[in-house]
């Protein structure tokens, strides 16, 4: 992959808590290329949101500490000054948040919120920004956008609000869009529409996308590559087909097996992953997944596995080989 849009290197995020430092993201590294979609999956609390918020310096920095580098077009986002990062935010890197219901300001019109980045980053006049806002609403498929720019968020349905968030994300034609569980709150029909929308924009604008989710079905539909995160550490990374076909890491496997598949008779008892995710203030010395891993051996709980590359474009952090799995 030549010249990635974003290259994250050894990103580590910790929070100072009363119970000690919680390491929430550990040495996380990945690249995203032009027009590529990278999916980050992992269960709740695995550090997906935190790792992306850290990129835009959106974490509250007294409790949070961010280390590592994130080169965006060659410039390190992590070490940028306040005003530099403001120039990037919403402009070249945009973010769509997990919850569209609360991520829009309830007392500002949709138009106001859409126009803000346009005016700040593109220096547009009010009228120009407004025209562009209407255009953007149209792009994301809001019917009769001219009549709705002056509406307030509560007058929009959940699906429409999510589209507004997307419109806001793409308004300044960013190079990179980070979508954090952008569709989790929506029902399947609306979700399907939004996924189509994103794919279309990506084709049209060459946008790089980081898509954060725990829904593997969505991943299957949208991603080019997948990163699996567990307990703040990367477990596996590969192109989409490989993950589903060759799932090397026991965690990835467990994740995929726990999903009920539609169609067919009530076939099997679901394979749930037993146990709980690790406490980020007391991370086990070895592999974070070891306590819950069906295949774990002695070594797993003492020795943190390093990332290996069993195949081109496929990295995995596990001491074991799929051949050793006994199921």
């Amino acid at each position: 992959m030549s010249d990635p849009v974003l290259s994250v290197n050894e990103l580590t995020v910790s929070f100072g808590t009363r119970r000690g430092r919680a390491k929430v993201v550990n040495n996380f590294s990945y690249d995203v290329g032009e027009a590529e979609t990278l999916a980050i999956v992992g269960e709740s609390g695995s550090g997906k949101s935190v790792s992306s918020l850290a990129l835009l310096q959106l974490l509250p920095t007294p409790p949070a500490r961010v280390e590592g580098r994130a080169l965006f077009r060659g410039a390190d986002l992590i070490s940028m000054t306040k005003s530099e990062i403001r120039g990037v935010r919403g402009n070249r890197v945009a973010m769509i948040f997990q919850d569209p219901m609360t991520s829009l300001n309830p007392v500002r019109t949709i138009g106001f919120q859409l126009m803000e980045p346009l005016k700040i980053h593109m220096g547009m006049s009010d009228t120009a920004a407004r025209a562009r806002a209407i255009e953007l609403l149209d792009t994301v498929g809001i019917p009769s956008p001219g009549g709705r720019v002056d509406d307030y968020p509560h007058q929009f349905s959940g699906g429409m609000r999510q589209r507004v968030m997307i419109a806001m994300g793409i308004s300044c034609s960013p190079d990179l869009l980070i979508a954090d569980e952008a569709t989790t709150a929506l029902d399947v029909t609306t979700q399907a529409q939004i996924l189509d929308e994103i794919r279309r924009l990506q084709e049209e604008m060459g946008l790089a996308v980081i898509w954060i989710t725990h829904d593997l079905g969505v991943v299957a539909g949208i991603a080019d590559r997948v990163v699996v995160l567990y307990g703040g550490s990367m477990m596996e990374e590969s192109v989409i087909d490989q993950i589903f076909d060759e799932r090397r890491h026991p965690y990835t496997r467990a994740l995929l097996e726990s999903v009920p598949v539609s169609g067919g008779d009530r076939p099997h008892r679901l394979k749930a992953i037993q146990g709980l995710p690790p406490d980020p203030t007391r991370l086990p010395p070895g592999c974070p997944f070891a306590p819950r891993c069906r295949h774990a051996v002695e070594r797993c709980s003492n020795d943190a596995p390093r990332l290996r590359a069993p195949a081109e474009g496929h990295r995995v952090a596990c001491h074991l080989d799929p051949a050793d799995f006994h199921d």
């Binding site: 609360t102 300001n105 309830p106 007392v107 500002r108 980045p117 980053h121 509560h154 007058q155």
Partner: protein, 314 residues
């Protein structure tokens, strides 16, 4: 909307009726006889009887109440027993002073509490935050009369910056008006500001932790823009309620300050009328204060609709 306002006005009329009943009950409940007070030491049973009869105070209380109510509905609030002047005249010549003071005090309160509240919330846990919080606690524990005298001794007597008391109407001399207004407004404004401070701080803190604030930051807004165009518009909503209540508190809480600063307002008039058992005036003054208070509440509720589009709809 119109229907809503009408409905509220009707409810307001009911509340005023309730207020009038309570105040009227004072006549029978409070010891002290207006005629006796008016006569002072010149007690003479014949004159007492004559004056009581003339004022209609010898009639049964219900008769008195309904005749008062009948007149009041027609806009006649009666005549002051104490001064022999129409109550409405007395009230309206004093209303501007009270409103001026209440509004100025609110202005001071907002001037202090809004920036401090916001700053404390934005830098919560900082020295500034602790300092402001402690100061607000001290300010509410210091009684208004005490603070008032202190300001007078400091700013008038020692520094000679401001006149110690009195009222000059704005139309007579704007500069003097402001000079006379400053100390009394400061006295209650700071107390009320301390209360507001606490509410503003928590409202801002609340809004700061909402996801839309993060969205605003993610758009590349400066911190200032985030606060003013996203945090505050939300924070105002709860603040407005408290401000409305504070204005009510100011309207009825100015009595002591009006006395200290020889401020010719309704509060002082109400106090005098209690002392002299001048019930028609008391009745009128309390009704007027209640009316302003309830109107402010109504305005606050309407303002809510303006500030919060979720309430505004339809």
């Amino acid at each position: 909307m119109t229907a809503y306002v009408l409905r509220r006005l009707f409810q307001m009329a009911l509340a005023l009726l309730g207020v009038s009943i309570i105040v009227f009950s004072l006549i029978h409940l409070v010891p002290g006889d207006p005629v006796r007070v008016a006569l002072g030491t010149r007690f003479d049973p014949d004159v007492h009887a004559a004056l009581t009869k003339r004022a209609g105070l010898d009639r049964p209380i219900l008769v008195q109440y309904f005749s008062w109510l009948g007149d009041a509905v027609r806009g006649d609030l009666g005549v002051s027993f104490r001064s022999g002047q129409p109550v409405a005249d007395l009230l309206f010549e004093r209303l501007p002073a009270t409103i001026t003071l209440a509004v100025a005090a609110l202005f001071v309160a907002l001037l202090v509490s809004v920036p401090l509240g916001i700053l404390s919330a934005v830098r919560s846990g900082s020295k500034l935050d602790y300092g402001a919080t402690a100061a607000s606690q001290v300010a509410v524990s210091v009684p208004d009369f005490w603070a008032g005298i202190m300001y007078i001794l400091l700013f008038s007597l020692s520094l000679r910056w401001l006149p110690p008391s009195g009222y000059v109407s704005f139309s007579d001399d704007p500069v003097e008006w402001l000079k006379h207004l400053t100390l009394p407004a400061l006295t209650i404004g700071l107390i009320s500001g301390s209360i507001l401070f606490r509410f503003i701080r928590s409202a801002v803190l609340e809004a700061l932790h909402q996801p839309y604030t993060r969205t605003a930051r993610a758009k590349g807004l400066t911190e200032r823009q985030v606060i003013w165009s996203h945090v505050m518009p939300n924070a105002w909503i709860p603040i407005v309620t408290v401000v409305g209540l504070q204005l009510g508190f100011l309207l009825s809480g100015v009595i002591v300050v009006e006395v200290i600063f020889a401020w010719p307002g309704l509060g002082r008039l109400a106090l005098l009328s209690v002392q002299d058992r001048d019930f028609t005036v008391l009745q009128g003054a309390v009704l007027l204060i209640a009316f302003v208070f309830l109107s402010v509440n109504l305005i606050v509720d309407l303002l809510y609709g303006y500030l919060d589009p979720r309430v505004r709809q339809k």
